[in-house]
Symmetry: C2
Amino acid sequence: MRVSRALIPTLREDPGEAETVSHRLMLRAGLIRKVAAGIYTYLPLGLRIIRNIEAIVREEMNRAGAQEILMPIASPAELWKETGRWDFYGKELLRFKDRHERDFCLGPTHEEVVTDLFRREVRSYRQLPVNFYQIQTKFRDEIRPRFGLMRGREFIMKDAYSFDRDEAGARLSYQKMYDAYTRIFTRCGLTFRAVEADTGLIGGTSSHEFMVLADTGEETIVYTEGGTYAANVERAELLPEPEAPPEPQQPLQAVPTPQASTVEQVTALLRISPRQLVKTLLYSAGHETVAVLVRGDHEVNPIKLARLLGVVETTMAAPDIVTSVTGAPVGFAGPIGLRNIRIFADYAVKNVRNMVVGANKAETHYLNANWDRDFTVTEFADLRNAQAGDPSPRGDGPLRVVKGIEVGHVFMLGTKYSQAMNARYLDQQGQEQLAVMGCYGIGIGRTAASAVEQNHDAKGIIWPLPIAPFHVLLLPLSPSEAVTKKAEELYQQLTEAGVEVLWDDRDERAGVKFNDADLIGVPFQLLIGDKNLAQGLVEWKERKTGQVQKLAPEQVLALASGLAAR
Amino acid sequence: MRVSRALIPTLREDPGEAETVSHRLMLRAGLIRKVAAGIYTYLPLGLRIIRNIEAIVREEMNRAGAQEILMPIASPAELWKETGRWDFYGKELLRFKDRHERDFCLGPTHEEVVTDLFRREVRSYRQLPVNFYQIQTKFRDEIRPRFGLMRGREFIMKDAYSFDRDEAGARLSYQKMYDAYTRIFTRCGLTFRAVEADTGLIGGTSSHEFMVLADTGEETIVYTEGGTYAANVERAELLPEPEAPPEPQQPLQAVPTPQASTVEQVTALLRISPRQLVKTLLYSAGHETVAVLVRGDHEVNPIKLARLLGVVETTMAAPDIVTSVTGAPVGFAGPIGLRNIRIFADYAVKNVRNMVVGANKAETHYLNANWDRDFTVTEFADLRNAQAGDPSPRGDGPLRVVKGIEVGHVFMLGTKYSQAMNARYLDQQGQEQLAVMGCYGIGIGRTAASAVEQNHDAKGIIWPLPIAPFHVLLLPLSPSEAVTKKAEELYQQLTEAGVEVLWDDRDERAGVKFNDADLIGVPFQLLIGDKNLAQGLVEWKERKTGQVQKLAPEQVLALASGLAAR
């Protein structure tokens, strides 16, 4: 493709609307343009990246035995009413009426439509397992769409749905998808981790998120170096700590802590480590208020707390509740003397001797509190977020922490949808059985955006070769006849060899071209200048490292053809 | 692909919902399934056909220099208000509000969105011409969706939009698209014609429809054998006829025609040719009623009449108007004695001497009426539909008539949208100029359906090779070990040679497999049976002709590889 004949509207300045690296760079490199909040047009280069990702996804889904279909974007309300999601789903489900006043939604996901297809067309155990997938535009009416393709309202997704005879079969289908996803993100050239994820309210039995690792990621992941364990921090399990050697208990002592209510303030004032301080936090869980104790350097995990209490969710208690329960302003709650309230403590609290806690009195803390002497803990449990250095629940060393972006999610659904929609098959005995389902999503646009978050520098994007819009950017450094002729010749030869070449044939200064080349991030640049050409050489530059080799054109041809064939 | 592992739910019976051949066969062959009225899921085989057509379209659009982009399905109302189409478009435009009560529509076409992109991103004459295209799902809320993919509500379309510096450039862009469309439908293996089409209310300067020829088509096309002229019958121009040699005028005579008001009845009663009868039809044109005379064997073309009168449209006058104007019941109107009404006559009427016309009196006609003696014609003009045998307006012989299905449309838009949306570029003198536009559509799903209308027999579909879901259907005739082994071997070898093979590996009777094979319509069938195999032979059968050749497996490999490479 010739730059002069393509719409690649690069921007010199950072656009005001962009909040994240990928959003900023995808706008600046001329890959996408906003049409409305969370709704984008993919320009030629942006679409090429999307298509490259789609092609990899398609190949690996087919290889895993999934069948590609295409379900409609408009989804009739009747199906959604069968599963109850027409009412359950909030405003993210974009609803509309057709001209005959029939209710529809723009599909944000397709469990209902695919389960309807299954129950109509699949009859026998002999046809199972099946896995249907599609690559389709979806719509989710996010309240605050942002970050460009990262959290859009209209977005391209690959979604797949497996149907099995039983739980064991469903686990196999799940594993096949897990393996396919691993191949997909590997082939996309991304550094990622599959992590155990919370099944949340959907209540499935198993779930993994595929996270592209990037410092700018919204999700926190813990993992072990050996790779045997990785989980979303909200999900990561922590085991009880081995009991620490006993320590003499010091006498309890109240001390004034004027204007010191936060961990930082109290530890600075008392010159203690945050590990010595124990925070007392009140949570509302249904109609009950409970106290949760965690170490000063730890954070409460409300999902774990909810799971322990058997409630849907827990939230921090409002300040007036804190005051009425503790008799003190927020920041001075403590376990000693608390009445009519269950006190849960994180496992790590058990080993803190002579701890500092709030005294349920304004501007006062206790020194040398001990849980077996001064107050009663209802239960010790895993109640906090994991953090770097925590021991792996698999016993294979300390956990590490990275940030990531969720690009894929595999999910064991069980019979939630087949039950609601009566999707049954006939088993070998001629008995009707519910199909056991799984669902599997990949955000195509988000994968592109996460590739940018992971692969960029101050100058712009550095595309991984397999999803790059082009393999090589051909950059003539002067308008001389010799350079133009050689550029044309190489463009022809490379293109014929299957190398995808973007040829910057514009009548622009070399500096402008260099900047655009680095911004757009084609992995290799082929520079043709008069001086080198006089010696029969051209320059081959790797975008990522900046390394330049002077090569004969034939060498470039061989090198580039090899890359394209990968 | 193995049939046993694919969802190909063929049906033995014709589904009740299907009204046309393509709809019936696409359901029966398991290509599509209805989700709601005019809304379908594409099953694996159906999607393969769609993707094949898309691939051909994409290649030819790229070859023609168009750039692929992807615009969103959700289209903000503001853009549509700029062109007035938010109000002008009727209920076919599906509108919805997002969670913030902002108005959107599901795009049935993208002139507004692409013109907005143009005005934001394209500045200079140096960037012109440009042509942006997309292959995208569109939505048109048809009042009566029907015929499966032929007239759906949600459908896949390729739409392209060209922007040029001036009218001359726009004509070149138009011609490039015309040529690309010709290549596309040729490569799809379809018999088609590009015909001059009416520009209708859009008022562009030029327009062609691409019609796939099929007896079941809804459109009527006239063309000359030499191929220099082809037009939609509504658009086809007819020139004045050469004057016939004079004939003696007979005396006017009123005759009773009891119970004879139609052309068939009057000509039978009076034993005359319909060419001798002249029909008098009253049309409402705005506030005026006019009389139109056409020969008994001709039909009035209301679009031509409207164009002649300079009105938006003309419609047949209501019976009460006919009665009040003529003083007679419908069926006996005639030109003699009509007052205060303009009388327009088709060119062909001029040569009818001693014609039979209605007498404006119940059950009465005149014999031997002559326009230059008995009544006054305001104007002779081209006012009827062309029909087989009419002379070509290009003077190259008689017109022929065929039925067709519109699958593509190319359109010169002029500055209608660039004017409304102020889409300007800077010319060489630095002056702002309006871009001159064209738009170009191809219905992808409709192309698939029209291929079926054109290519089928009593047994099922006969896909043209380039868009067929598979090249070869591999059909083992027995479950014997030798046959199974050879089938597996040939499946591997053919697949490796790039041949797309559908392998019917089901444990079914050969009869069932034959029926499904003919129904699905893969162009070639490879039959493997014990008897032939014992002689080292397999059967190679062409679906279209039913011709069977006995060949050695190596010959089949060579043959099939050659086909796939086409």
